[in-house]
């Protein structure tokens, strides 16, 4: 008999692999949020006679706000196809711990949508005249902050998965919850630009990530159970 029993780790890997296969089979999922991020950020320098130093000082804010919106856009598709085709029922009815499967699904989605944002962010920093000492804090902040944003957005996605058009409602649900991440994320760069130590702000961002990793999956599972009836 060639049947191999899988432990939790192996079955989580299967969920992660499926998430990546889904991304490969519809590359728009990866490319669209990334294009949005690049285009929206690059509109700012064109939108008025901004002084180049002023632009540099608001660059962290611009990058963070557009990253937040891009993450939100990308998360809308997280449970959509699984809800429509019934795969979500199979997940909810499987004898697996949903907490971990949902967590790995969100993190898989972050790998293909959030991580590319982090990678192109320095390019946008260049475009927006971000001072040199801001790049490392920007990257650290985004690496810690975008998974948190993904997890928060996933709660909103799970709550609105039964609605055909959830765009605005999703924004209304998710944006207020994302404010702390935005404040501390842009704060890391600002603090660095002012020549102050950034460890404290980074620790706060990390704490938010730990909080989201621990509690968001619970909320997501509960929201999915409500919507899949």
């Amino acid at each position: 008999m060639s049947r191999v029993a899988l432990g939790l780790g192996a079955s989580l890997r299967a969920t992660l692999r499926r998430e990546l296969q889904l991304a490969i089979s519809s590359p728009g999922k990866i490319v669209n949020p990334l294009m949005f991020f690049v285009i929206a950020s690059s509109l700012f320098p064109l939108s008025g006679r901004l002084d180049i130093d002023v632009l540099g000082s608001i660059a962290p804010g611009i990058i963070w706000v557009t990253a937040l919106l891009a993450v939100m856009l990308s998360m809308e598709s997280l449970f959509r196809s699984d809800y429509d085709d019934g795969s979500l029922e199979q997940l909810l009815l499987s004898p697996q711990p949903l907490y971990f499967h949902v967590l790995i699904k969100v993190l898989g989605h972050w790998l293909v949508t959030g991580l590319p944002l982090v990678v192109v962010a320095p390019l946008l920093g260049l475009l927006l005249n971000l001072p040199a000492q801001g790049y490392v804090p920007l990257l650290i902040g985004l690496v810690l902050g975008t998974p948190t944003l993904s997890l928060i957005a996933a709660i909103g996605t799970a709550l609105t998965v039964a609605l055909a058009r959830s765009g605005v409602l999703l924004a209304v649900l998710v944006l207020p919850l994302s404010i702390p991440v935005l404040v501390f994320g842009a704060g890391v760069v600002d603090t660095a630009l002012n020549g102050l130590p950034v460890a404290g702000v980074i620790a706060l961002l990390a704490a938010l990530l730990v909080l989201a990793l621990s509690f968001a999956p619970l909320a997501i599972v509960a929201a999915l159970r409500i919507n899949v009836q």
Binding site: R3, V4, L6, R18, S25, D85, P95, Q229
Partner: protein
Amino acid sequence: MLSVANLACERDERVLFANLAFTVAAGSLWQVQGANGSGKTTLLRILAGLNGDYSGELQWQGKVCSEVRTEYQQALFFLGHAPSVNRTLTPLQNLRWFCALQGFADDAAIHSALNEHGLRGYADIPCYQMSAGQQRRVSLARLSLTSAKLWILDEPFTALDRVGVAELEARVSRHAAAGGAVILTTHHPLQTQHPLTVLNLDALRPEAA
């Protein structure tokens, strides 16, 4: 196996069913009948544990279902209206994930399940290139992979051709004969040698009585 006591469900102030009580024993084959909108799907989803909007009690092997959720879900195979097949993935990828959720990996079994369901050579074709009937077959190939005792199938015959319908009828009969239990809904008269228990929701409705 599964016993239902005093089950009632209301949708939009309309009573779908009330005082429903029955026991699904091992080796039995149940067909839930009723007009469109009579609550067949709702009943099946309540039995599967997806819909919690009911009053009454569900027991699995004598224990309340919600208290032995993992155990119950291990013993349950549910297939809803939607085929639960991702259209952008291949049958192999779809079924691998299904197997992983059930806690095993077995590519040989997946291939033989696909062959059994008339999908030889389709393992690596994306599902969106297949017909609705073939997608349904991918979905039903799970029946050959699951070791669940209780099958709950909502309109499993949708989109299947005549041969497919006959094969599925034979498959559910075999499962019941082997000591499993099947609850399904369908509008076509089920051809089976196995004794069939019919639950007619229209006849049970309070206002009909």
